[in-house]
């Protein structure tokens, strides 16, 4: 296993290196730079040039890249051009908000998705099934920003029972913090839960037609037992695979939902940094995001290799 892991490391390092180059180059291809953003709307080119020199942005690109990479390897992601604050601090300030939102949205997606799928899949047909199908279709067609706005109108303005703007950290005040989280998490989770539910329902429909289910029915096994022990258990694997993908989409959707509910998370930081051409913040965010993806991929491969010896053996040949 250790050998398998070691063989995976070079490709991971290569991905991270390529990412660091892309993250450095791509933002610089856009017109304008942090000096223009800092100089303000009434600046002349002479003043912008002076700020550019102060920030060291007039140095050769290779020098800037190597300088940044050297510091990044030591965990120093430089100082934001626009705010003058260490990038690590800026990201740490925002990470908690996004993590709390993503984790609760992920949990809601699992619970609601499996619940909807099970409720629809457990009954062959009928009004309940039709109702859930319609609900899933509506939710699937609804982007996160729309579900967010509808929740704001319904539970924030018409019947104001939950806060619709801002945030309180769960770590600071769990009782209030959870109330600030519910609506944005629900807005994020609903479309994804519908997708998971629809997939589970399809898998259960397919499983119902399998021989072992017919045998169980013929043997007189109670319907509930057939659903839980045979149909559901054999349908869950495909849903579990999709949960990972859907969780990635939750993180993507968080950028929009953070804007709707005025939460200061990583998505909002990324968008602001793009507008202000705050290169070093974008570089750090990109590198960290890809680093997490690489780590997740490695862990997945390790897990699969541990479960399936053929992967390990295949990898050694």
């Amino acid at each position: 296993m250790i050998g398998y892991l070691i063989r995976r490391i070079p490709s991971a390092v290569l991905v991270l290196f390529a990412t660091s180059v892309l993250a450095f180059v791509l933002p610089r291809l856009a017109p304008g730079d942090p000096a223009t953003a800092l100089a303000g709307p009434e600046a002349t080119t002479v003043e912008i040039d002076a700020i550019r020199a102060d920030l060291g942005l007039d140095r050769p690109l290779l020098t800037q890249y190597l300088d940044w990479l050297g510091h990044a390897l030591r965990g120093d992601f430089a100082t934001s051009y626009v705010t003058g604050r260490p990038v690590v601090d800026l990201i740490a300030d925002r990470a908690g908000s996004t993590v709390q939102l993503a984790v609760l949205a992920g949990a809601l997606m699992v619970v609601l998705g499996l619940g909807l799928g099970l409720a629809a899949g457990a009954v062959g047909r009928g009004r309940v099934r039709t109702g859930i199908d319609v609900l899933c279709t509506v939710l699937l067609a609804m982007p996160a920003f729309l579900s967010g706005l509808l929740l704001v109108l319904l539970l924030g303005i018409a019947v104001p029972i939950l806060p619709v703007s801002g945030e309180v950290s769960l770590l600071d005040d769990p009782e209030i913090g959870i109330q600030y989280l519910i609506l944005p998490a629900l807005a994020l989770a609903l479309p994804q839960a519908a997708a998971v539910g629809r997939l589970l329902r399809s898998a259960m429909d397919q499983a119902r037609r399998e021989e072992y289910v017919r045998t169980a029915v013929a043997k007189g096994v109670p319907a509930r037992q057939i659903v839980v022990r045979h149909v559901l258990r054999n349908s869950l694997s495909s849903s579990l695979v999709t949960l990972g993908i859907r969780f990635g989409e939750i993180l993507g959707g968080a950028i929009v939902v953070e804007a709707v509910f005025a939460r200061s998370g990583l998505g909002e930081l990324a968008v602001t940094s793009v507008y202000q051409r705050d290169y070093v913040v974008l570089q750090a965010l990109t590198l960290i995001a890809v680093g997490i993806a690489v780590l997740t991929q490695l862990l997945t491969e390790i897990g699969l290799a541990a479960l399936d010896p053929r992967i390990r053996l295949g990898a050694t040949t």
Binding site: G40, P41, E42, I51, A262
Partner: protein, 525 residues
């Protein structure tokens, strides 16, 4: 339990599921009844308004993240805190006359080339040290630095020498008289000279204002607390001001409607109009901006002045004011407001909607069917304005292709004079007066402007206004307005204020002449 799920005869209908559901419901009910509700906490206490009351935290939602380095700039990134943390030497009254603030008086000598400023002696900085001449000299010099982003940098750059006769007297020598000197005094917040470098990252933001800068989380929030040593006894009333950055226009409105904030600064005009019908809120105009259409005079067909003038007649300003700015603005051909002594009613109506005249001018110039690229700053109001302008211009015979540019790209091209043939933008200096406007905004600079309009006469007129004495100031400003109208390298469309929506719980909130938030006397009920 039989196959249908019904209880067997003789057994109770209360199943295990019913009991569990009942217990869950009871538990949830108990939990909720003892639970603090975030909506209730955000709403806060309300009470009758019978006079000022001390204490309380004011929640302000702002559409731009505070930038401490902009402490001496007229930008949305400083409007909501600049006058709370800092004060200035003088401040304009409603008639545009400078009144003493941190200065007790001033005296002009040598034909306006030397200014002697007397300072108050009872002012403490937030650090606890008495404010003195060193802080004033540092603060008057700082706007000249590019990193300050200040619009009065051209005035600060005139300072050739500053000396302190004593800790409370500053003598400033200028390279030439400056008609707009008090614009510098109005905008140059007095900053602690010992910690001025801390403005770059917000680690030290020390002034003399009624509130002390406590903490800033970039892109998220700013906390300010009451300055107990403020020079005005008993002020301010509020204990704390908490500002939250909300860039999304809908979320900004939601914050004030949902009682998260008592003030929403920078609300979209149409949103403000909607909230004005709600008795819980008042809508207050703030700093004014001039929304204009600029023209590159070296690009065909705008090399012909008749086509440039035709643009002015083609635009339906009143429609833009009502559709985009909900009627809060003023359709005007002048880029400055009535505050400027040189403002004139006739000049503000120099170009009125006359599509027939515009069409005729374009035909005379042989420019019918010309295709022009229209660069548009990516601000909601500017984009909306540009769509109407495009319609109007196509109506008089031009073909227009809109190109939206984000702020940074637009500013870079504006500064470098590399915008397309037409462009739409907004300039936030409308309140500051024509002289500073024409000598600070890149689109109007006499030396090298974004329109690439080069004229010895224009340079002469701006120079004359910059050095004009008081009796001649109004006429010199009118001469600039008249010349730009004639040459038509820029057309003002609407002068409109930034909109602030305030809860009626907030009383006696004010603003400076330039629209910066002022809360010395404000209190919550």
């Amino acid at each position: 339990m039989n196959e249908r799920g019904n209880p067997p005869p003789g057994r109770s209908a209360v199943t295990r599921r019913t009991i569990l559901l009942g217990m869950a419901g009871l538990g949830a009910g108990t939990l909720l009844s003892g639970c603090r509700l975030a909506v209730a906490e955000a709403r806060g206490d309300t009470g009758a308004g019978d006079g000022p009351r001390a204490g309380g935290t004011l929640m302000v939602a702002v559409n731009s993240d505070p930038a401490p380095a902009a402490a001496q700039s007229q930008l949305t990134t400083s409007m909501t805190w600049r006058r709370l943390v800092f004060e200035t030497l003088s401040s304009y009254d409603d008639n545009g006359v400078p009144q003493p603030a941190l200065a007790t008086g001033w005296e002009l000598g040598e034909g306006g080339r030397v200014v002697t400023i007397d300072l108050r002696r009872d002012v403490l900085l937030h650090s606890g040290r008495p404010m003195d001449a060193r802080d004033v000299m540092y603060s008057l010099k700082r706007p000249a630095e590019p990193a300050s982003g200040s619009q009065v940098r051209s005035i600060a750059a005139l300072i050739t020498d500053m000396t302190a006769d004593d800790p409370w007297t500053v003598r400033v020598r200028l390279s030439r008289p400056a008609a707009n000197l008090f614009d510098l005094f109005e905008l140059a917040s007095i900053i602690d000279h010992e910690s001025g470098a801390g403005l770059a990252d917000g680690s030290a933001v020390i002034g003399t204002g009624p509130f002390r800068w406590e903490s800033w989380v970039p892109g998220s929030s700013l906390s300010m607390v009451r300055n107990p040593h403020y020079r005005v006894q008993g002020r301010p009333y509020l204990d704390r001001i908490q500002q939250t950055t909300i860039g999304d226009a809908t979320a900004l409105v939601t914050a004030v409607r949902g009682s998260r904030a008592q003030v929403a600064y920078g609300t979209a005009p149409l949103d403000a109009k909607g909230l004005s019908a709600d008795g819980r809120f008042t809508v207050v105009p703030s700093a004014a901006a001039a929304y204009s259409v600029g023209i590159t005079v070296t690009e065909a067909p705008f090399t012909d002045v008749r086509v440039r003038q035709a643009i002015g007649y083609a635009i339906d300003r009143e429609r833009i004011n009502s559709s985009v700015f909900a009627g809060y603005g003023e359709a005007s051909s002048l880029w400055w407001t009535r505050r400027d002594p040189g403002w004139s009613e006739a000049q503000s109506r120099a170009y009125t909607f006359d599509p027939d005249r515009a069409r005729a001018l374009i035909e005379q110039a042989g420019a019918v069917g010309s295709e022009v690229v229209f660069d548009v700053r990516s601000i909601l109001a500017v984009r909306s304005m540009a769509e109407i302008v495009r319609y109007d211009l196509e109506n008089v015979g031009l073909r227009v292709r809109i190109q939206a540019l984000d702020d940074v790209t637009f500013n870079q091209r504006l500064a470098a004079g590399k915008l397309s043939a037409l462009w739409a933008s907004a300039f936030g200096l409308a309140d500051i007066g024509a002289v500073t406007f024409a000598s600070s905004v890149p689109a109007f600079l006499p030396s090298r402007n974004a329109s690439r309009f080069d004229s010895a006469e224009y340079r002469r007129l701006v120079d004359a206004a910059l050095t004009a004495d008081e009796p001649n100031r109004a006429s010199s400003v009118r001469a600039i307005g008249s010349f730009i109208h004639e040459q038509a390298f820029d057309h003002c469309v609407v002068v409109a204020p930034l909109m602030t929506v305030q809860s009626r719980r907030l009383r006696d909130a004010g603003k400076t002449a330039l629209g910066a938030l002022r809360l010395d006397d404000a209190y919550l009920v």
